[in-house]
Symmetry: C2
């Protein structure tokens, strides 16, 4: 699909390292529970329906784009969605996702199969095409989970405070852990390729649990499957963003992966990161909780992130993590105005 209407996109210009017409901004989980219009839809249908029915996914993807002057959309889906046809369907009915039978041993893990997303996950492509058709003027981001994060979900069977089962696998059967991570990378390549072919102009890989490993283990286990994904998408020519929560300590490793943009959480100072990673386009990194503070303080903090972002080779403004459900939608409106009004220092 040609990028009709996207020639002047500030988001895509910043990702290319060009000078954008304004500082681009989008918000992780911008289609989410903080919006009353999202909650209205969600009252009628399940989370699973939202992810798997293209009309619904399209509708909630469009909601924040109607309300706010955002520089990108992100298709509504879940990082665990592509795991269901692989053989591991998570249950979302009780809040946090749960896998009835976590994958702990070789026979359970090796049962996973790489599937053709066009056959099994076509609803994601459908939703993307619908959004692109409605809003050809706004770039749409496709996404997937990083293999480390997906593998941890599969082995733990959900979230965890200590990742004991996943790390025990890593420390007892590193070969099997590597097979799992590599298999997930293969599936993610197919899933993101489908999303790009359906019309996404950029992709983001979410490594929500980048902070659970020793830096040497991150290099050995977590980085190669991300590198494989980035390499497997390179021929498609769309910018690739890697979001790493708690991963600022792994910056030297992240830089080597070859992503056009690194998205980091709210704990690090982008001025420091830019000094360590010259030439790197950065995305982030306002604390989502800043949206709960005084409005003056919100503006000050947003401007501080902009000033720090100005030190980088390019800056896409975002939060350092997803926007929280109790957030006041008006606070986000103020944030967006503040960021777009902020001019880089001379």
């Amino acid at each position: 699909m040609p990028d009709h209407g996207l020639e002047t996109s500030a988001f895509l210009a910043a990702l290319r390292g060009d000078t954008p017409s304004r500082r681009p901004l989008w918000i992780m989980r911008q289609a989410g529970r903080y919006l009353p219009e999202y909650r209205a839809v969600r009252e009628r249908v399940t989370f699973h329906d939202l992810c798997t029915q293209p009309e619904l996914a399209c509708e909630v993807t469009l909601q924040p784009l109607r309300r706010y002057d955002l520089d990108a959309g992100i298709i509504f889906s879940d990082i665990l969605t592509p795991l269901a046809p692989m053989g591991a369907e998570f249950d979302f009915t009780h809040g946090s996702p749960k896998l009835a039978s976590p994958l702990r041993d070789e026979s359970e893990i090796k049962r996973l199969r790489v599937v053709e997303p066009a056959e099994e996950l076509g609803f994601v492509a459908e939703a993307i095409k619908m959004v692109r058709s409605e809003r050809p003027d706004i770039p749409l981001i496709g996404f997937a989970g990083a293999p480390l994060t997906l593998a941890a979900y599969l082995v733990e069977g959900g979230g965890s405070s200590d990742f004991r089962h996943f790390k025990t696998l890593l420390y007892t059967r590193p070969d099997l852990a590597e097979w799992l991570l590599d298999t997930l990378a293969s599936q993610v390549i197919k899933h993101l390729t489908m999303q790009i072919e359906a019309g996404c102009s950029a992709v983001q890989i979410f490594d929500s649990w980048a902070s659970i490993l020793h830096t040497k283990d991150y290099r050995r286990f977590a980085a190669p499957p991300i590198k494989k994904i980035l390499d497997g998408l390179a021929h498609l020519g769309v910018p690739r963003i890697v979001f790493s929560k708690g991963g600022a300590g792994n910056l030297p490793i992240l830089r080597e992966l070859g992503a056009e943009c690194l998205s980091l959480d709210w704990t690090c100072d982008f001025a420091d990161v830019a000094a360590q990673a010259p030439g790197q386009v950065l995305q982030g990194n306002l604390d989502p909780i800043a949206l709960f503070g005084d409005r003056d303080e919100l503006v000050r903090r947003a401007q501080a992130v902009c000033r720090a972002g100005d030190k980088a080779a390019g800056h896409v403004f975002n939060l350092g993590h997803g926007i929280l459900p109790p957030t006041d939608p008006d606070a986000l409106a103020l944030l967006i105005d503040t960021v777009h009004a902020h001019s880089p220092e001379a």
Copy 2:
């Protein structure tokens, strides 16, 4: 109390930056649920009893010292114990600690009062004296929570996934947050002074939630009360350890505090830290989950931590976080033998 029998302590020598007779080792939460003898006591009494009855606290403190060849003991207590007489008693009966009325506004926060621990927390001093009398040959560590971690517990009323209430306080009433953090620092000074006067030969400040703030906020809010505590203890002449979970990104700030030793979690490579912080004695940092892996892998990983620790000005071996309840006690025995047998490279 004179340090009778402690002149040759490897633990204290390493903390002083001297060459110890062997690589010292102790384990965070070494008196804990992984020990059957601890569970046997705990079956009869509540957690609150364990913390507040000197005989019980002494007994469980001694348990790991009987079973293992450890280089230090740590008095059994809880970081939330000193908050009860201040006016905020946590309930431990349902697993994770809960405060019935979290401190959210000024009137609730300003009600906290600094108390004399000899009057209100004398049971901790009693327990320390009992342990010292039983085991004068082993240095005993006193401890307290860092003000950031304690303040977050008080405002959230327990643990949290996003620390929304505490950070909203920080972003709306920084003056009140600073009052709270400073008040907690005053109480911690008194609490640790009492522990040292009762016989502790070293103290550790636990900053379990060091990772929740932007590095500039950590410098502004979290570091000054730790500095105040360290300064307030300096005249007592015992080594001071600061444990920072997830805080490796704040290393330049932590170094300035003046602690004799920094204890870091399992995610960072001590060889890298030592390069950034020459002259700094380090404590840690094996992943607690390594104790669940293959025994060969446990030995390899322990030796890797020792080799990395050899790059520092001094190394006290420990885990990067507390030992987990499902840990096999025999795995810890193997770890202790491995660490004591490991010789620094020539």
